[in-house]
Each structure stands twice: as structure tokens, then as C-alpha cells.
Amino acid sequence: MQAEQNIESRIGAYWRRYDIALVGSAVFAFILLITIFASAVAPYDPMARNIKRLIATPSAEYAFGTDQLGRDVLSRVIYGGRPILGASFTAVLSALAVGAIIGVAGGYMGGRLDTALMRLMDVMLSFPSILLAILIVATLGVGLLNVTVAIGFAMVPVFARLVRSIVISLVLEEYVVAARSLGASDLHIIRKHIFPNMMPPIIVQASAMLAVAIGTASALNFIGLGVEPGTPDWGMMVAEGQRLIFDAPHVPLFPGLIITITVLSVNYMGDGLRDHLDPKLRRQGM
């Protein structure tokens, strides 16, 4: 009896601490499922045109209306997460991986290597990231992979600097100094002491950068340097629909909404994960 109550209260406490993170996770899981099983869920072929129903407003037949080429907006929204989410996640994760290597190398080793790496990051940062992305896509051509590369490339210095600053502060912590003086190998210290403490801030930064990545992907589409035209893709739909905002607001509205909901849910998830992982915060029950 008492044990039951205990469990209930623990679940209650857990819920109170992570309510919005849990809701975020559930929403994101739902969006992911729909995206993965798009072909089973979508009412129409996202590419099928109905020339007689161009930019039709939402109705029973087309829940989200049709776009400028008579395609079902709902089906396109359902399919449209694949490219942009794939590109954004891949870009952020690869930028994080590369940035972490650079940041740890520079922050842990210090000295000339650190200076050189950071100046390199300065050069990259002093190049406006959106222009860098535009140049990369203009060079490689439009397409999902190239968009991914362009977004990821511009994010590397952001992660590198963040990781470096964390590593530098950790290197001076007593337990790391102690481990070093005891002769622990660098790899061991990085794995055991640096890495776990690096994660919480990085998760938060990464979930924020995902928002930036999705925004950049939409912006590239807006400039005409995104995915192939016709591809059902949220960013592309918002960008192409922007010119219809006066005449058929539903065309850009629904993909815009789903982008916002996705980014919000990922960020709440990230915040919750940070709280859960951060030993300091866990101790305080904050």
C-alpha cells in the first residue's frame, strides 16, 4: 500500500518536473511516426495535381486545401518532414561531432594548436553563415545533401567554440587536475571526466541549433537554393508559399505551423534531457 503510494508520488514528482519535456517528446514522437509512415497516413499522393482545384481553401475533400499546382497540402505536410528533418538533424549532429573534436583538441591541448584552431574558427565565423551556406549550395548545386553540407559546415565553429570553452573550464576543475597528476591518460580523462560534463550544455545548444538549421533550410529555399522544386518539404512549402500569403494563406501556414511545433517539441525535449543529465541540477531538484 505504502509502496504503491510511493510509486505514485514518484511518478507525480517526475511528471511535475518533466511535464513539458514529456509532452514535447510525445509530440515529437508523433511527428516522427507520421513522417516515417507518411505513405500509409497521407490521404493523397503528394505529387498528384488537380488542375481544376488550384489553391483551393481547406474543405472536407482537402483538409489543408491545395497549393498553387493543385496538390493536397495535408499530404505534402505529412511527407514534407523527411527532407528537412533529415537534413537538419544530420547537419547539426555532424557539425556537433566535428566541432566537438576541434573544441576538445583545442581546449584540452591548448597552446599553438588551440590558437591555430580558434583563428580558423574565427575565419569561418567572420564569414556570414547564411552567405557561406549560399556559396556552398551555389557551388555544389541544389539538393538535399548539399543543403545539409552547407548548413552543417557553417555550424562547426559554433560548436567548436562552445565545446572549447566548456573543456577549458573543466580542465581546471580539481578532479581533472587530480586525475592528470595521478597519471591518467588523456583519452581516459576526456572520456570519463570531460565528456559527461560537456553533454548538458551541448544538448541545449544542439536543440537550439536545430531550430537554426530548420530556419536556414527554409531560408535557402526562399532564396531558391534549397531542395529540388516540387519536393514535398516543409521549408520549401513555406518558402514557395510566402508569395501566396495574401491570396491563399493556407498554403504556407500549415507547413509553417508544423515547423514551429516540431522545433518547440525538440527544444522542450532537449531542456528536459539537460535537466535530467545535469548532476548539479538533479541534486537540487530544479
Binding site: V123, S126, F127, P128, L131, A138, A219, I223, V238
Partner: protein
């Protein structure tokens, strides 16, 4: 500290050299060249060849590069390839509007960001905390072209409070001195033009300001939380220090450093990266100019423009470092 600054100054030309070389290289890799872009206007092959020769595009890339560097060292940025206008003249036209836009949006984002960040920490109200967090993530995720056009529809088309586009009203007379209107219009006491100028700056400033306010609010919130949970604040509290004083004196002071860093970076990013906002508001800044330069393959525009953006970025970073030393007394005595 002066020694440190000098050290940074030595890096300046090296960073600029690296940036301009990378730009040069990137432009030569991008398919298409400035002459082909206007080719639909010119039919004769021999004329094309002649124009290519004039711009030195028929020379080997290494020779073009050395030529470019030697001119750069002498401060000669050349003419725009598409229009034949000196680059320095275009920088004079394009740089001041963007700097003004950057300043206004930084003021807006710092104001909104810090206030909402502090509010979410100070007012112990989950609903408020969540709405600030939600709004700040929204700011990050909403596409700029979307926010911009929404603001235009609401404030310009429906309410008619602000103009939709441009830098100053149609038919407003003014004198250009530095092309910084904050200076020119005040110096000439032209208040009518100044009002028109401010009205044009509001919406683009808010568009960028709102999106970066999200960053600022998140940062303010997290650093302040960290400080307020730190041991010394808890000690201070235990000793009966007022909550207001905890927030503004201690937590805020510590939160200021990362905010200054962030805003310094943001300033640099806006200088060349306000592409979308400038485009939606037809604002004559560096971003749209560089974007057009890239799309039309105007090598001299992109090369010349990026150097200025990079220069402004590096200088801004140094300024941030100096501010660091002013704000944080602990750093004042060390030389890092």
C-alpha cells in the same frame, strides 16, 4: 590588456587574408562567371572574349589571385563587374544602412531578451517561465521571411502604422554626409526625415530583434539560474540579502558576460547575414548586395564586400573582449 589587444591586432591582417583568399577560391569554384551571367544580353563571342580579357578572367587563376592580392594590399578593391561602379562607393552606400539596422535590432533584442529572461527567473511562475521559453524558441525557429511579411501585413497593410519597405520615405528630402542617417539627419536637424527614417527602421529591426531576442532570453535564463543556484548566492540569501539585489547585482552581472559575447557575435552576423530581412523589407544593406553579387557572380562585389564584413566582425570581437575586461574585474589584472 594593451599587449593582449596588440596581439589580436597582429592577427587581423592574417584573418582578413584568409577570408579574402577563401572567398576568392570559392568564387572560382562556383560554376558560372560574371560575363556569362550577362551573356543573354550579348551575343557576339568575340565581345565576350574581349570583356573577359578586360576583367582578367582569361588569365590563369594563380595570376588572377596574385593580381587581386596586390591590388588589395594597395587598398584597391576595383569596380563592380556588372555596373562598373567603384566598390568603395558601394560600401559607402551599403555599409551604413546595415550597421544602423544591426544597432537597432541589437537594442531591441537585448531589451526584450534580458527583460523576459530575468522575468522568467525572478517571477516564480511556471506559466510565465514556459511562455518565455516557448516564445524564445519560436523566435529561433520562425523563418525570418515569414515573420517579416507577417509584420508587414499587420502593421503596414492593415494598420498602416509603418511603411512596408525601404530606408526612408518617398519624396523626403535630406542631405547625405556620412550616409549614417543617425548622424546626418540629426546633424542637419532634419527631424521630418529622421522620423521617416525611424519609421522605416522599426519593422526590419523588430524582425531581426525578435529572433535574436530568443537567444538572449535563453542565455539570460540559463546563466542566471546557474548563478542563483551557486553556493555564494545561497550564502548571500541565507544572510538575508534582498532577492532584488540578488537578481540585479549578482546574477545579472554574471549573465552580462555571455550576453555581451552573444550580441557581439550577432552584430557580426547581421552585418552580412541580414539577407532575408533586407530582402523582405527592400532594405538597401550589405546582405542583399552580397547575395546579388553571389547570384550574379560579380567577383569584385563579393570579394570586396566580404572583406569589410570580416573586418567589422573581427573589430567587433575585439571590442567585446575589451568590454569583458571592463565588466569583469577579475579579468582586469590577468592578461589571458
Amino acid at each position: 590588456m594593451i599587449g593582449y589587444m596588440l596581439k589580436r591586432l597582429i592577427w587581423l591582417p592574417i584573418v582578413l587574408w584568409a577570408v579574402s583568399s577563401l572567398t576568392f577560391l570559392a568564387l572560382r569554384i562556383v560554376p558560372g562567371n560574371p560575363i556569362q551571367t550577362v551573356q543573354n544580353q550579348v551575343m557576339d563571342k568575340s565581345q565576350l572574349a574581349q570583356v573577359e580579357a578586360v576583367w582578367g578572367l582569361d588569365r590563369p587563376v594563380t595570376e588572377q589571385y596574385l593580381n587581386f592580392l596586390s591590388k588589395l594590399v594597395r587598398g584597391d578593391l576595383g569596380l563592380t563587374m556588372s555596373s562598373g561602379v567603384p566598390i568603395r562607393r558601394m560600401i559607402f552606400e551599403r555599409m551604413p544602412p546595415t550597421i544602423e539596422l544591426a544597432i537597432v535590432s541589437l537594442v531591441i533584442s537585448t531589451g526584450i531578451g534580458v527583460l523576459s529572461g530575468v522575468a522568467s527567473v525572478a517571477v516564480r511562475n511556471r506559466a510565465l517561465d514556459y511562455s518565455v521559453r516557448t516564445a524564445s524558441i519560436l523566435g529561433l525557429s520562425l523563418p525570418l521571411f515569414w515573420v517579416g511579411i507577417m509584420l508587414i501585413i499587420l502593421f503596414s497593410v492593415h494598420l498602416r502604422w509603418t511603411p512596408t519597405s525601404g530606408r526612408i520615405g518617398v519624396g523626403v528630402d535630406y542631405e547625405v554626409i556620412t550616409n549614417f542617417m543617425f548622424y546626418d539627419l540629426i546633424a542637419t536637424g532634419n527631424w521630418e526625415a529622421f522620423r521617416s527614417f525611424l519609421r522605416h527602421l522599426v519593422l526590419p529591426g523588430v524582425t531581426i530583434g525578435l529572433t535574436s531576442a530568443g537567444f538572449v532570453a535563453r542565455l539570460t535564463r540559463s546563466t542566471m539560474l546557474e548563478v542563483m543556484n551557486s553556493d555564494y548566492i545561497r550564502t548571500a540569501r541565507a544572510k538575508g540579502m534582498y532577492e532584488r539585489s540578488v537578481i540585479w547585482k549578482h546574477a545579472m552581472r554574471n549573465a552580462m558576460l555571455p550576453i555581451i559575447t552573444l550580441q557581439g557575435l550577432q552584430f557580426g552576423a547581421i552585418l552580412g547575414g541580414a539577407v532575408i530581412t533586407e530582402r523582405v523589407f527592400s532594405y538597401p544593406g550589405m546582405g542583399t548586395w552580397l547575395l546579388d553579387g553571389i547570384l550574379e557572380r560579380d567577383y569584385s562585389v563579393v570579394q570586396g564586400g566580404i572583406i569589410f564584413v570580416a573586418l567589422a566582425y573581427v573589430l567587433m570581437n575585439m571590442l567585446v573582449d575589451m568590454l569583458y575586461h571592463v565588466v569583469d574585474p577579475r579579468l582586469r589584472n590577468s592578461t589571458t
